[in-house]
Symmetry: C2
Subunit: 280 residues, 2 copies
């Protein structure tokens, strides 16, 4: 496994691989890898000839008051995990080389990125779309794999790739969970033991929403109220958003239609967690 820090080296070796007809599978990450990332890598490993994993905590997708500087990092451990998962290349560029002084080009998706996390984190999806386009240009993937915990992100990226005619297939892989149902996230490491227990309220609220929908409830407001009650029971929980959206365009809906999803973001203490579920 090769660790590449330089953008030019990565791009040149990707272009050389493409000329040799190799299929590049790509998993972009912010590092501090967990079983969720490893699941993305296993999928990518199966689908491509060469597996490239990027590790880059992207400053452009964090707001000024968000947790960029304290986002967890552990490159040595990440490299060991990538090696074990069969990565051929780990690309870990410096922030200065990705965003040199005077940087001024951005990519924006203007429909799917408006609501949910986009509404709560202005500029977040612009930062995500920009870095993903840059990484695609550098790594030249035939396919890229994203996780469904960040389902809005995967939808935004798929739309960006399709609208901009990028020759890359976007795969979205199911969320990997802890045994008790908590969605895996690098940010879970911030949780104190008591917060860790409270964090289960996200999954509990989502399961409750799905049960209600499956039992025939069609009124999104009633489902949301039930979800809210579950979350608000926890002393450290503060709801950032809690929505029922149409699967197609991610707009809030009043009636549960086929494809509808429940999604929420909750602060547990200082830590913002997200999760989502298909209501079937």
């Amino acid at each position: 496994m090769r660790l590449i820090r330089s953008i030019r080296t990565m791009q040149n070796s990707a272009l050389a691989l493409k000329r040799r007809g190799k299929k590049i599978a790509f998993v972009p990450t912010m590092g501090y890898l967990h079983e969720g990332h490893l699941s993305l890598m296993r999928t990518a490993r199966r689908k491509g000839d060469v597996l490239v994993v990027s590790i880059f905590v992207n400053p452009a997708q964090f707001g000024p008051r968000e947790d960029f500087s304290r986002y967890p990092r552990n490159l040595r451990r990440d490299l060991a995990l990538c090696r074990r998962a069969g990565a051929d290349v780990v690309f870990a560029p410096a922030a200065k080389s990705m965003y040199p002084e005077g940087y001024s080009a951005y990519v924006e998706e203007t429909r799917l990125s408006r609501g949910l996390c986009g509404a709560r984190r202005p500029g977040h999806f612009r930062g995500v779309a920009t870095v993903v386009l840059k990484l695609f240009a550098i790594v030249q993937p035939d396919l890229a794999v994203f996780g469904l915990k960040d389902f809005q992100q995967s939808r935004v990226i798929r739309k960006m790739a399709s609208d901009l005619n990028l020759p890359v297939t976007i795969l979205a892989v199911p969320t990997v969970r802890e045994k008790d149902g908590l969605a895996m996230s690098s940010r879970n490491t911030f949780l104190s033991p008591s917060e860790r227990k409270e964090a289960l309220c996200l999954r509990r609220a989502l399961l409750r929403a799905r049960r209600m929908a499956q039992a025939g409830e069609r009124d999104a407001r009633r489902i949301r109220a039930a979800m809210r009650r579950i979350v608000e029971r926890e002393p450290s929980a503060r709801i950032d958003y809690l929505k029922i959206v149409a699967g197609e365009d991610l707009r809030s809906v009043r009636r549960i239609e086929p494809g509808a999803m429940a999604a929420l973001a909750v602060f547990i203490g200082q830590t913002r967690l997200i999760d989502n579920i298909k209501l079937k």
Copy 2:
């Protein structure tokens, strides 16, 4: 020479060329080709193995009150000119396939695109950057050639390509002029015989600016005043902007520094013309 209308066909044949190690040179145009475009094609022809020319009047770069619908078009004549210039492929997609319903991904350059034409035509350079990125993704060029009449455009695109790490070299080629000095432009066809004569005021004002700078004038305001007088002599002329800018970041300057440029946009009757000059 092959005419391709389908995005997928163009992209697949570009990717196949790349796998065979071919160097693709690309000239994106809005058609209604003139000697300026042919000069871009000659440069591209020399630098690449395969010459692809696109012909696409890009709706995204026209404002709601601008001349998109009346922009001149003549595909048959354009194809003959491309064939004579040695193009291997002409890519002429339909607007509906480039911007399908629900289209929502855009590229923006936020520094160099602010002033000059960008200030007068809001959204113009977002439309330009977006379509050029799309065309790059479809045509997969190793190099792309632009004209210096649209020098701000060439600077915006070069910055976009560099910031987004696109593996493409951007070349900018000198403006081709009519014998009397008028910069070639597809829009010149709109000019009446009397307007055609008045249109020379752009070039005359620019030459005057350069002579003044070469003679030691350093005060941008005085140069601009002299330019303005030349343009305002013409009865059909209306200045859209008239600027002296720094070569580096295209910001207006008060003092003439090395690299400074004069640039102007003037309506001659209904027709908006632009031109520019290096002041040396």
